[in-house]
């Protein structure tokens, strides 16, 4: 469902991604791990069509993101790291706006919005202005806008950063409930989050895939930690 081949991104002379390649199958939940500045957000921004790669191929479904941006974007629901929202709108009008932009007809948007409001637990704040929502509700709303129209691929950039422990648990439960309906690519630097939510983890370090780990829930969680530390040490870079 997601295919990346030799993806390279330069910011001026700085190389943020160096020939990164991986693929993610339909229905899979994959975590993108890495320290700050590893290139996780850059990878997500390229996959969502927000910025182009310098070289390489990024495909969503059968569409190359740079060549067929519209077709690729129709398959994606994206939650950026800072959860940018229109503060002056109400939750209802914001989700209706997103549904309209995603091409849902006036007959479809009500069902689509009702569904994500229910999934993300936004009933209580449905008529509230976005600007007064708590951080947890803003994160839920960010997830809800990504889920509107039920796109097959969900890309989440650090979805639990800055939340209190209870909100973190709630958001993780939400992501868990995506089930096999969506292919999920999740970026984080919280190792336990990946072991809880994903079946596979890609470790990015200094713009390269340093390791790939298949997560086995029966194995002790310390194993991911060790694999991560090994991968981000210089010896671990392939």
């Amino acid at each position: 469902m997601i295919e990346v081949q030799k993806l390279t991104k330069y910011y001026g002379s700085f190389c943020a991604l160096k020939e990164v390649s991986f693929s993610i199958c339909e229905g899979e939940r994959v975590g993108l791990l890495g320290p700050n500045g590893a290139g996780k957000s850059t990878m997500m921004r390229i996959l969502t069509g927000f910025m182009p790669a310098s070289y390489g191929i990024a495909k969503i479904g059968k569409y190359e993101v740079h060549e067929y941006p519209l077709e690729a974007k129709r398959l994606i629901g994206y939650l950026p790291e800072r959860v940018p929202l229109y503060d002056e709108m109400t939750v209802k009008s914001f989700l209706k706006f997103v549904a309209g932009i995603k091409g849902l007809s006036s007959g479809e948007w009500k069902n689509a919005v009702d569904e994500v409001v229910h999934t993300c637990g936004l009933e209580e704040v449905y008529n509230r202005v976005v600007g007064v929502l708590s951080k947890g509700y803003r994160q839920r709303l960010g997830l809800a806008q990504a889920l509107v129209g039920s796109p097959p691929v969900i890309i989440l950039d650090e979805p639990t950063v800055g939340l209190d422990p209870q909100q973190v648990v709630e958001i993780r439960e939400l992501i868990k409930n995506f089930g096999g309906k969506h292919t999920v690519l999740l970026s984080t630097h919280i190792l336990s989050e990946v072991s809880l939510l994903c079946s596979r983890a890609l470790i990015l370090n200094m713009g390269k895939i340093a390791a790939e780990i298949t997560i086995d829930p029966s194995r002790p969680s310390g194993e991911i930690e060790q694999a991560f530390l090994k991968a981000i040490s210089k010896e671990g870079i392939r």
């Binding site: 330069y10 910011y11 001026g12 921004r45 969502t48 069509g49 927000f50 910025m51 182009p52 790669a53 310098s54 070289y55 740079h66 519209l70 974007k73 129709r74 994606i76 994206y78 950026p80 800072r82 940018p84 929202l85 229109y86 503060d87 002056e88 709108m89 009008s93 706006f97 997103v98 309209g100 932009i101 995603k102 091409g103 806008q145």
Partner: protein, 276 residues
Amino acid sequence: MKSVLTIGKREFISFFVTPSGYVILGLIALLTGTAFVLSFLTYVQISQSPSQFGYSSVPDFEETFLSPYFVFCGIMIMFLSPIITMRLFSEEYHRGTMELLLTYPLHDRDIIFGKFSSALTVLLFAVILIALNVFLLLPFTEVEWSVLLFGLCSVFLMGMAVLSIGLFISSLITYPITAGLVSFGVYLIMFIIGNVAEKLPAVAPLPNTFPLLLKNVVEKIYGLFRALLLELPLDNHAKNMALGILEPKDISYYLLCTAFFIFLTFRSLESRNWRK
């Protein structure tokens, strides 16, 4: 088209759930209303005793009062329009919502025309406010419909060109206040250039000792430069139209100016996709 309407509607509503829509329409109503009353009272005084003001008879109503009023309204809109345009793209960049917008399945044209159409709708409201002032006169005096119609058209076309410049500037700058100030500065420069160009001598002031060939070349360049400076200001092209004289060059100027800056906005937005 549906996406253009969706974006335009959101943008237009957000003008009026934040103070900016009320501020700009309020200021336009206040300033154009005050100018209307003051210039009308002045015209009444002139028509009561024309000789006192240097006129041999009662001056023409349209030429003395109505046309300058429309040009004034256009200039007013020009200087107030940064309040509308500064938020169009800059605010999206500033609060990060551009990242959302650019990752939704939208063409650049949906975003640009959606935003521009919302700004045009606010402009239309401003023109309606100006028209209300003038329509108050209709029961008391006969007004030439061509002056009224083309005068209002000149205000709208001038506003449209100004909004397209502001839209482009907003697409380049991350901070709304900076975008607003830069737009204001550009309009001010264009306005001043017009006044300066009018004061320039028609022929290049060169000494007689200048070699003839060089003198001819310099005069040609000077003439071209002066003509360009005279044509550049936005308000100059509204003057004829506000008199009820419809010249294709004036309408073309506003339409081409709008198309040019919308084209530049397209290029500005597209530049993010240039592979580096």
